[in-house]
Symmetry: C2
Subunit: 402 residues, 2 copies
Amino acid sequence: MSLIVKKFGGSSVANAERIFNVANIIIEDYKKGNDVVVVVSAQGDTTDDLIAKAKEINPAGASKREMDMLLSAGEQISISLLAMAIEKLGCPVTSLLGWQAGFNTDSHHTIARIKKINTERLKTEISKKNIVIVAGFQGINKYDDITTLGRGGSDTSAVAIAASMKADLCQIYTDVDGVYTADPRKVKNARKLDQISYDEMLELATLGAQVLNNRSVEMAKKYNVELEVLSSLERKPGTIVKETVKMEKTLIRGAAKDNNVASISIVGLQDTPGIAFKIFNKLAQEKVNVDIILQSVGRDGTKDITFTVPQDDAETAVSAIKTLSDSLKFNKVTLDESVCKVSIVGAGMESHPGVASTMFEALYDAGINIHMISTSEIKISVLIDEKYGDAAVAAVHDAFIK
Amino acid sequence: MSLIVKKFGGSSVANAERIFNVANIIIEDYKKGNDVVVVVSAQGDTTDDLIAKAKEINPAGASKREMDMLLSAGEQISISLLAMAIEKLGCPVTSLLGWQAGFNTDSHHTIARIKKINTERLKTEISKKNIVIVAGFQGINKYDDITTLGRGGSDTSAVAIAASMKADLCQIYTDVDGVYTADPRKVKNARKLDQISYDEMLELATLGAQVLNNRSVEMAKKYNVELEVLSSLERKPGTIVKETVKMEKTLIRGAAKDNNVASISIVGLQDTPGIAFKIFNKLAQEKVNVDIILQSVGRDGTKDITFTVPQDDAETAVSAIKTLSDSLKFNKVTLDESVCKVSIVGAGMESHPGVASTMFEALYDAGINIHMISTSEIKISVLIDEKYGDAAVAAVHDAFIK
């Protein structure tokens, strides 16, 4: 007998038919003798509908406290409907809101962090052999005000419960049946992974293969919660995410593309001490996330510094650099949004020096030019023209995974 | 400076335009220096939409606990939207759910009773000069489960806050501008009352002039909370409901009709001791509310007993009587739903013996036959054919109120 935490997203509970599908998945595991805690997001379009109502009242944006009050009604609806379906199918069940399930968070409305889960109520319900349905995405702060956890918050809610309750497994149900070596809609030879490590999952998630929310994977890693990514539509094993995974025949775990990248160049910088510090300190102050950085020697002893940022941050970054023109001498700042980042991820590459050259060779053979390169212990990323993104992923993927 | 509690129903906050109308009413009183606590129901059709979702999952009816979880999301949406509108108009505001506002109830889901309001949070928000928007209709029981108060619960929420906070006035906003001497859509000469006593209001409410929920009037009477019934669409004084009201020139406060009445006759009862006890004890066990009772002598020394019940209870009542056929001897049970009850209400009638005869004369002049009569200290009711209901109300009303 195990304790299993299951998380279902909004599309899995979008209508009565899907709610019963989810109810049946839950009951199947419950009837095997397991304790089951389920985390649910708001139904399909509920959140968008509620945001539209708020925008109608205040197009400039309501206070974050009231947005949290409004949006958290969404999960309240989905948990009660799912509980009703489980009741209808004859199993004992209780739905709990974030605060009832003991989710204590900080006070950063709309992007709150979980501080602690008071598991007393959860344990009581489980001891009564109730299936427990918990509202994801929400909690309360120390003033008893409702908070929400931000994008992907329900994944985090599920992992947090699994960690606090020392669950045996935390299953994240999605509309794909696991983690693939590349996007299967784009790469014909992509194949599903049986297992992947937390670090590899984090790198892949960051790279745009958005299967799991990053915060939830970080939390799973921190508390050693075994995750499974699987489909709510097909009954078959998904991909297990855990600390140490068995080596596969292939060196890499996956290839992915990220289009949300802009490349910014500061051209003709006069080389004085501290220029890199001044630039990246300023960007940090403006909360711009800098990814790859390349420094090169330009004409006449000047330097060029090129770096990438998420496209949302690009305007902010360019403006910030321009305000430095008093203390820094440079010719111009250029912005290029027609780039993308293609990466391969795999814990195996650390001990195999040939990985990078295999990747570069595959790109060369495909006639794709590399603008920038960045490497970590388990990842190699290249910046290329956006238009070659899909071709690059396929070429690189097939060079490693046959 | 006063503390004013205001309550707005679902139609008053049905869309953005109406929400801003309500926000402006609130701000007007706040800017005069008053402390304002506002109780709101769920928006227009929200409750019906949520009930439809539940019915789709379980047509036979979900558990009451989960219905409360589901339905209480409705006020969560309306309070946050109203708070956003007040923010937009530049005033400080906080929305509070039932549990946040301290509503502790018993555990009778869907028909819970308020046990206590812990006013700490309300007082804190008021001391910060915040307008406070409270979700009506909802609270929590001792297990921290969400409960709802049943039909008209938001009126009760408002009066309960006014009572616990010792508010100076509790204003119930509706789509009519006060309490009338008769239904103004039916009776041309109907006029608005400036004042009415709690007892008169209770009698009128019971009689089908459903302006205020009865429980809320009972609570207002118990805690001596001054109520005002007024329109959210027009800015003019409504009707004040309080303990002692000034006498008006007219003897009666109003005339009203109740169509939800059925008349049941047990014909040819053999007169043995305890027959009335056996009949009405059985009906009480079946939770049938009996209103008017008439006992008359029939043929051959037998008796007839006729009584009225709400139409919803009629089938139950007839079945219950039939189960008594072993211990009671009678010829038959008849049911007549084509009747209605017309009543006049007024504290003044107690000291004016001519009131009943004026009423009966008015009905006689209108050619309307009276089947049954029932009187209390401040009310006279007659049972007549349903088809004469409106004519009877008009005739009786105009006999007293010129």
